[in-house]
Each structure stands twice: as C-alpha cells, then as structure tokens.
Subunit: 432 residues, 2 copies
Amino acid sequence: MYKIQLSSDDVPTKWYNINADLPVELPAPKNSKGRDQISTLPDIFVGECLNQEFSTDRYISIPKEVREIYQQIGRPTPLYRATKLEEKLNTPAKIYYKREDTSPTGSHKLNSALAQAYYAREQGIERVTTETGAGQWGSALALACSMMGIDCTVYMVRVSYDQKPFRKGVMQLYNSTIHASPSTNTEVGRKVLEETPDTPGSLGIAISEAVEDALSDDNVRYTLGSVLNHVILHQTVIGQEIKTQLEIAEEEPDTMIACVGGGSNFGGAMFPFMKDKIDGNSDTEFIAVEPSACPTLTQGSYDYDFGDNVGFTPLLKMYTLGHEFVAPSVHAGGLRYHGMNTQVSLLTHEGYITPKAVHQRDVFTAGQMFANCEGIIPAPETCHAIAATIDEARRCKETGEEKTIVMNFSGHGLMDLKGYESFIDGSLENSK
Amino acid sequence: MYKIQLSSDDVPTKWYNINADLPVELPAPKNSKGRDQISTLPDIFVGECLNQEFSTDRYISIPKEVREIYQQIGRPTPLYRATKLEEKLNTPAKIYYKREDTSPTGSHKLNSALAQAYYAREQGIERVTTETGAGQWGSALALACSMMGIDCTVYMVRVSYDQKPFRKGVMQLYNSTIHASPSTNTEVGRKVLEETPDTPGSLGIAISEAVEDALSDDNVRYTLGSVLNHVILHQTVIGQEIKTQLEIAEEEPDTMIACVGGGSNFGGAMFPFMKDKIDGNSDTEFIAVEPSACPTLTQGSYDYDFGDNVGFTPLLKMYTLGHEFVAPSVHAGGLRYHGMNTQVSLLTHEGYITPKAVHQRDVFTAGQMFANCEGIIPAPETCHAIAATIDEARRCKETGEEKTIVMNFSGHGLMDLKGYESFIDGSLENSK
C-alpha cells in the first residue's frame, strides 16, 4: 500500500490539547523587567487563541467552518509508504510519511493560520499582523485571511524580502500587505532604520513591528505561526489523522520523527500519541530533529527566557539558547529559533522526547536522496526529519529490526530551492 | 463533497488511444524537402513510443511497473469541487477540477515522462535527450529518468536557463545534465553561437540540439513532452480517472475545459470522453483554451507543416501558425507552440472541439480569483482554462443553467511566479 487515504468525513472534529495530560505541571509564564507583559496579552492576541493557550481541556471542538475549509484544502492529508526509499536503503524498516506538503501553501502552517484567522474574524477583528522569515507562515496566514475575509499585514525580514520576491508575490496574490522590516510603518522600525539604514533586518525586529502594529489599534491583533500551545493545538489534526491511518495499515509506530523549530509540526504530529507514552502504555520513541547550527534542545538550557528578543513576551520556561542568540543563516529558516514551545521543552526535559541535531550538508544529502526515490522535493526544514529517518532506517539494517518509522513531511521545497542550488554547486557550508 | 478521491487500485490499467475512434481518417505524415524524415524516426524516438504513435488499438496496457509508479506518485489524483469559486461567482453551475498539480513535479507531464523513460530503459537505451522552455517537461523527464535509472540530458532555452535558475536546480537535483541552448555540445548549437553569440536561444534550436544529440549515439533517444499521439495516449489516465470520479459524483459533464499548447493535458483529459460524442451519444462541449498571443486553433490554418522549426520532423496535418512563427514571450511558456497535435487538430476541424483564445491579463485575473477562493496558485497555462471556466460559469448565472463544468487543472504555478509578480505590480501586458 503506497498511500493511506482517508475521506473528507475523517477530518478530526476536535483538536487535542496536551496540557490535559502533561506528566508534571507546566511552569507558568512570568513577568519580568518590572513590566506586566502578561496583562497586555489580550491586546496582542485574539481572545479565543489566548483561552486555548492556557486551557487544560483535553479536547477542543474545531469550529464547523474551519473543519469545512480543512476539507476544502484537501484534509485529511495522505500518509505515504516510502517504498522506493526503503529499497534504496535496503532496510527492513517500514517508513511512512505524512504529506503536509499537499496544502495549497505547501506546508502544515495553514492548519493553524485558518483557525487563528477564523477566531479573529469571529471576534470582530478586522486585520491581523505577523512577521515572516522564510515565508511559509506568512503565505499560509495570507491565504487564511483571504479565505476568512479579513486583512493581513506581514512584516517580512528585509533580507528575505529582497532575496525571495516570489514569496512576497504569493502573499500579495492572496491580498496581503507586505512591509520589508524594518519599515517606516512603526516606531521600532523607524528607530532601527535611523540607527542602521542598511540593516538586513531580523526576526526579532519584525516581531516587534508586528506587535507594535497590533497594539496600535483595537481592531487589530498579532498572530504567531509556532511556539505557542494554541498553535500546536491546531496542528494536532496531523497526529490524529496519522493515528487513524496507522490503524488502517495495522501498524504501531516504533519511532516517530519530525523537525523542530518552534515545535508546531513536531507537536502537531506527536502529541496525539504522547498520552499513551506518558501513561506507560507505549514505548514509541519521539525524535525531534534540529539543525546543529541552532541546537536549542540538544545544547540549550531549560530555563526562563523571553519568546522574542526584545522582551515583549512574558518569560517562558523552555529550552533556550538565550533570547539574544542569532542563529547562522542556515537554509532551514523555519528552524532558526532560539527558544522552543514550553510543552515540547517540558516533555524533552522529562525524557519523553529524544532530541537530535544534524548538520546542514547531511540534511541536503538526505533531501536529495528522498527526492530521487519518492519524487517530492522536501523543504530544507523537512530534510532534517528525513536525515534522522534515514539514519534510523540504516540502524535497522545493521540490527535487522523491522521497525515502523513514521515521519512528518512538513512541507515541500519548491519555493526554497536556493539551498539545494548551493548544495549542488558545492558552495553549501555546514554551519552557515 | 469537496474531493472525490479514488483508491490506488483505481489507477487505470490501460491507456485509451483516440486513433481507434476518429470520425474521419487521420491524414498521414509526409516527407518533405527531398528528405526522408519518416525513415529516420526509429533513430530519433524510442521504438515502443513510435509503435504507439501510429497504433489504432483502442486500448494499450500500462506496464505493471509504470502503473505502480503512477500509484507511488499519488495517482489517481483527486477531483475537487470548486465550491468557494462557485459562491464567489454566485453561479448555478457546478465546477469540478482535476488536480494534476499534485504530482511531485507539479503538473501532468510526469504521466508521459514515466512511460517514455520506462520504454527507453526496456529497449536498452542508456540516455534520453529533450528540450525544455518553461521547465515543466524537463523537470518531469528528469525525475522519471532518475526513477527508471537512465541518464537524461536537457537542452534548456538560454533565456529560461538564466531567468529560471530554480527550474535548472530541480533538474540537477534529479541528476540530469542541463545545457543552456544554444550549447557548444552540438553542431547546430556551435553554428548558432558562432553567428549570434548573444542569442537568447529558442525552443526550435533546443529541439534541434536534442535531436542531433540523440542521433549521434545509438544508445540515446529523443523524447517530447506534448504534440505527439503517444504522449497524449499516456495522459489519458487523467480522463479515465475523471470518468470514474464523475460516476461517483453522479454527474454528466456538460462542458469540459482545458488549456492547449501541444495538446497533451487537453487530449489526456478529453479523449476518453470523445468517443461518446463522436458516436452521437453525448453532447458534452469540449473547450480548448489558448493564448490570444499564440492563437493556433482559433487563427491558424489546418494544413501540412513541420512539428519543429528547422524541418527535422515529417510534415504533419495540423492547425499551425507556420513553423517559423515565434510567439510573443507570454508567461504561459507551455502554450507558445506554433502547431498542434494532429488528433486535436482533426477533431477541432470536424467540429468536436470548440477552440477559444483568451488575453493574458484576463488569464492572471482569473488565476488570482481562483487562488483566493480555492487556495491553490495555478500555473499560467492552467489559468487559461480557469479564465474560460469562469466565463462559462458567469454565462450560466445569466441563463440560469445548472451546467456541470469539468476543468483539467494541469499544474501549479509555484515555480512560475514571475508572471504573477508583473501582474500584481501592473507591468503585465496583454500580448507580451
């Protein structure tokens, strides 16, 4: 069986909330620097998203309209068996991958973008703001806002804005307004431009601009594409679908693998499987794969830190490389975050998640092998999961274990081919 | 129902050959210029493809290995209902679209590329050559050859080679060798470079180089991505799947719409429905949509002409703008061909196909509307079919007809965003 396809009726009706099942209590967010960041949150975020952020209900119903649009954009996504890759590796392992690349914007990001845009509109919010680096999140939010009929403003890091005109084009096609960040649109932006007119920008500056913009008008809110619990909550449609698909295939996962940046594709795929492990009813291994150039889980400390790098957010207990850490510009732009979702952090600290760091050249080597076997060109972020999957399948070849490996294929790489280009021409480095 | 999804078992087992059911005899190819082009065909083309080209068998079995790879790359592709587009247009028409963009290379081209690469390998051919302009065909052939384990050389028109580095990157990732054409690799190329060192190249030159390369070695053959009967034959998996899907939806198509360049996505989707019309058992309208800038079917003459523009091919009876016609550089590079598949030409001449030409700005306007309703960004070629579909749905609104419209969504536009960019910034012209 190459493809395990569910019907539209099988789109989950509820999201799963890991807060209900954590093995120890989640450390609460804290204020800092004498400021009360926590009380400003309702002015920054959409109300229902904030409720979900701190909810401990195990299941939260997916609104009818959101579920229908999930169906319209092709959910449930298929689960594929990587038979050609297995043949190439000559492994006794069985490799499955969940096709989140089949979304119109090419990644899992739309699952949360649609929910956030929906709740914003329901609250009477007229416009949402966000930042984007690589562009996957910005594209998804732009489409979601277009579908929900609200406006969208994206602050895109200047260097990406200049280097990725097509990403910008996609967001504009979906009727969003795009500002190269730093922009003259905000106080933060104008200040940075005055001091350093030639700055390439940073995600930190772009976040600050998007938040300032949201705070400037009561009809505007800020949205985020990863890191927070409500974002991962929306992504749990992935893992719930995988569960149903594995039942059809009569498989139990021995190993589940996904890449981690802020944690949203990882948590979305894994959390629905986590309760059984926490309860001692499963020994599935959950592998979180990050770049060696931004080794948050493998080399960071488990500590309180800011979610952004100017201190707009409360302090969060998480694995962090320090909020002033600037990761080298690896091509997997989606994985260059200094911190990590608090739930993923806690579960890693408690030993339920196995973190792993991989080098950039190995990542693209794995991506090319996958593309030539299975056809699909993976996003650089997704290549991290593939590299770990190939390692695991090779280990199975040595040991003879017939493991069932399930990987979350978070997105395709068709709009991020620059990395492959430098990989092929030999100029790609391991730490840049 | 948003999505009509078949199972892997439903991939057709046979291709359908329109030659068996044409209403009048197909005019045979002719030699010209005192040369015997017909007898050189076996040195140019793979033997089984040439057999299929002239076969009159109604069905030709799909080899087991090809059918399995069709399954692996996700066939059958889903048929979607465009409910949001219908709502936006407030039309009583029902609009369905066949998702050929879900292939790993983003278009229908892989259906024939896999078959051609398979037959080449079975014949003991070690390498195939081809030309590519926009890059959809080159990418598909590169992947197909990689999957079949044979080499692939692509002559890519110089201007595309320079302007579309990512398309080149995709083909290299799939292990193909790419030459900017004109190249120093062939006599034709060297001659052109000597006379006009700064030439941007043309599809005609690239074809000539690919054919010369194939003729230079008995272990090498040339492949083509459209125009010929065997190519459309391989594409008839599309139409056969649509038939099954419409039966499930309990629909009869009133209007079927696809874009036409050489005719492969059009014929692939339509031919399996054509016999009923030829036999007088159906009055489905088949609309073939072409750019006003390259109006082969709407303004060309039905006459004998060369398939290429240097005269390597026999003369073919087809609609043509003249083999020396150079279409303006519209963004739908896949539709810039001076001629047309002979079977599509004959059926148009006999009144079974309704040709229609659309202007470039209307095409992108339609593409943007589709993207914002349905999420997917269409290839510029596919936007032609969408423009005609929207016209038809609007006509239904005026007349109140509840027509069932079925459109072939031939490919996504994620690697061809340049056209959208100039559409959005206002610089797009209608005839360039």
